[in-house]
């Protein structure tokens, strides 16, 4: 057995019922435990509970479809995102143009698909930014404590005194438009709540016996953090992430909607809607279809998040 496997076995997140055997340590029960772990691991249990939640399954399938639509956008549509056809502008939805055409005669369906690409990409980037920052800050605050904790927690107090949307607007106004600046702006505005969440979780896990054991056997801080603590605070983080995607999409399209964020010619749901608002009196599809896509995405990720929360923490739902 390799060392990493041993390490993994030590952490109770792998074995579903390891926490019920705090006195486990002799060789004998290990065998039994191994058998049980295979029978139903934590993630197996989670998947079992998730499967029974219809709404979560609907949400996850919808999310998957939306992601696939975004990824395979170039294959799914015969039109070019930027190809203008002035003679055929403002066409109502038809078989040729599923969602009609916009003010430059560009195929709206194509633009909405490509817009989904941008929106989802930026939302994921923003999520990575905020989760990565939150892990570092939350770990320092929760695990090491001391003055670093005081500073980090007070800083989150300050940042949370600004409404999140306003904070995103401020940072975005400072960084300028574009994919990366928008992802950064939205990501940064989402760091504070995640730091609080992680710190709380880490504080709770830190005093557990297996962490103490790891420290006592001479693991250094970083190893304890990544091998013992993080895997055990993963579930709230996953829930927060899947909820976060929806929130990020709203924030991103909101930013693009007021002229920050991602700007044309790159299509993004928010900026297609802004464009649509200019022509809303003559041509409704331009504002409505990207709006519906935003709604579907939010619905998908919210349902997934709700379902995951219930599945990961069965104590909550009764």
């Amino acid at each position: 057995m390799s060392i990493t496997e041993k390490e993994k076995k030590k952490a109770p997140h792998k074995g579903g019922h390891a926490h019920k055997h705090p006195d486990r340590g002799a060789r004998k029960p290990e065998k039994e435990h191994k058998h049980r772990a295979r029978k139903h691991s934590q993630w197996g249990d989670v998947w079992f509970r998730l499967r029974r939640n219809k709404l979560a399954i609907i949400g996850m399938s919808l999310a998957l479809i939306l992601v696939l639509l975004a990824v395979f956008a170039p294959v799914l549509t015969p039109y070019d995102e930027a190809a203008q056809d002035i003679q055929n502008r403002f066409q109502m939805p038809s078989w040729q143009h599923l969602m009609g055409t916009d003010n430059f005669g560009r195929d709206l369906f194509t633009r909405v698909l490509y817009g989904g690409r941008t929106s989802l990409l930026v939302a994921c980037l923003a999520l990575i930014v905020s989760i990565a920052a939150a892990i570092v800050l939350g770990a320092v605050a929760g695990y090491y404590g001391g003055w670093a904790e005081t500073i980090i927690m007070r800083a989150t107090d300050m940042v949370q005194a600004v409404p999140p949307m306003l904070f995103a607007v401020t940072v975005s106004a400072a960084l300028g438009p574009g994919i990366w600046p928008t992802a950064l702006a939205v990501g940064i505005s989402g760091v504070a709540p995640n730091v609080r969440l992680l710190r709380g979780q880490i504080l709770a896990v830190r005093s557990q016996e297996y962490v103490e054991a790891a420290v006592a056997t001479g693991s250094n801080g970083v190893a304890v953090m990544f091998k013992q603590i993080l895997p055990n605070v993963l579930s709230p983080l996953i829930v927060s992430a899947s909820m976060g995607i929806g929130g990020n999409i709203t924030a991103i399209s909101g930013l693009s909607f007021i002229g920050l964020g991602v700007q044309p010619p790159i299509s993004e749901w928010g900026n297609i809607m802004t464009n649509g608002l200019d022509y809303i009196r003559q041509f409704w599809p331009l504002a409505v279809f990207p709006g519906i896509m935003i709604m579907l995405t939010l619905f998908a990720f919210n349902c997934t998040g709700d379902g995951l929360r219930d599945a990961l923490d069965p104590k909550l739902k009764q």
Partner: protein, 328 residues
């Protein structure tokens, strides 16, 4: 109690100062030269320096920050707009009213709807009514305010032509913006009321109340709801902040002459003092509202007061010590 209130108010001062520092710093390091923006493309080096001197932009960062904070704190002076040279504070005050009305009305209405609906869902737990409410919440949670604004505008202004699509000339102009700021807080509070009620209803004191023969209506209203509302109402300040922050989108759609449109214009013009002023001002309002809800709760609920102040703990510790001494 007075000590607690004072402590809370005093704690607000560093928070607001830091918010001002953060916002100022972000805006300071924003690329783009305000002097160049004002002077246009053709200017002499001399004119540039005079203008920079006049605006205090040739000073080091710390000096500028200090001056800004000093003016904000002592004179409520947020500087002047780069574009029209009018004081930022005056512009904010001029534009404040519609935004505030929309946010407050929206949040209040949302609570008025959400709390009874949430209670009803909880008392009909696992019955059709509960399922209807929860699934409606799931659907409504997927509609952000600005999307709702677009849909409502299409329906009521352009199709049915019942309401004005832009501007606020009389009270009808407020209807749609308020509706947009109702939905978000409504869904959140409704879910929260429901889950918090479900939790409270399982408590022992509810069983006690029922056992001693209190009518079901009174159990729900007087025993359960009072306790279940704490987490719901502590969110009020946040909802208000959210509504005011989201105003930038909703106001743009309905062209309401409020803080949101002011900010949007400021961003468009890269008018940094104005953006700074708006963000700090809205954060201040949100902090005040948070403070007020917390204080109101501390007054009403002794447990909240105990939790938030050390006073309660100290008293209890003293009491425990005394009891020990007496026992000894």
């Amino acid at each position: 109690m007075v000590k607690y209130i004072l402590k809370r108010i005093l704690w607000m001062i560093p928070i607001m100062l830091c918010v001002a520092i953060i916002v100022f710093t972000i805006m300071y390091f924003t690329p783009g030269d305000p002097v160049m923006a004002i002077l246009g493309s053709s200017y002499t080096q001399e004119a540039y320096e005079i203008k920079a001197q006049e605006m205090g932009l040739n000073q080091p960062f710390i000096a500028q920050l200090f001056n800004y904070l000093k003016n904000v704190v002592t004179k409520f002076d947020f500087g002047q707009s780069y574009i029209n040279n009018r004081p930022v504070a005056t512009q904010i005050i001029e534009r404040f009213q519609p935004t505030f009305i929309i946010a407050v009305l929206g949040v209040l209405l949302s609570q008025l709807i959400a709390i009874p609906v949430g209670v009803m869902a909880a008392t009909h737990h696992m019955k059709p009514l509960d399922y209807t409410v929860t699934s409606l919440c799931v659907i409504l949670a997927a509609i952000p305010g600005f999307l709702l604004a677009v849909f409502l505008m299409l329906l009521f202004c352009l199709k049915l032509k019942w309401l004005p699509a832009a501007g606020i000339t009389n009270w009808t102009g407020y209807i749609l913006p308020v509706m947009c700021s109702v939905f978000g807080p409504m869904v959140a509070s409704c879910r929260m009321t429901r889950s918090s009620m479900l939790e409270v209803v399982r408590q022992d004191y509810i069983r006690t109340a029922r056992a001693k023969g209190v009518s079901e209506r009174d159990v729900i209203r007087r025993h359960a709801l009072k306790n279940a509302l704490i987490p719901v109402l502590t969110m009020l300040g946040m909802h208000l902040g959210g509504a005011m922050g989201g105003s930038i989108l909703v106001e743009t759609i309905f062209t309401v002459p409020g803080l949101g449109t002011l900010m949007k214009q400021a961003i468009y013009n890269q008018d940094y003092p104005l953006i700074q002023g708006c963000v700090i001002f809205i954060s201040f309002i949100m902090c005040m509202m948070n403070l007020l809800t917390d204080l109101a709760y501390a007054v009403v609920d002794p447990r909240v007061y105990d939790q938030m102040s050390d006073g309660g703990k100290k008293k209890r510790r003293k009491k425990a010590k005394k009891n020990l001494e007496v026992a000894a």
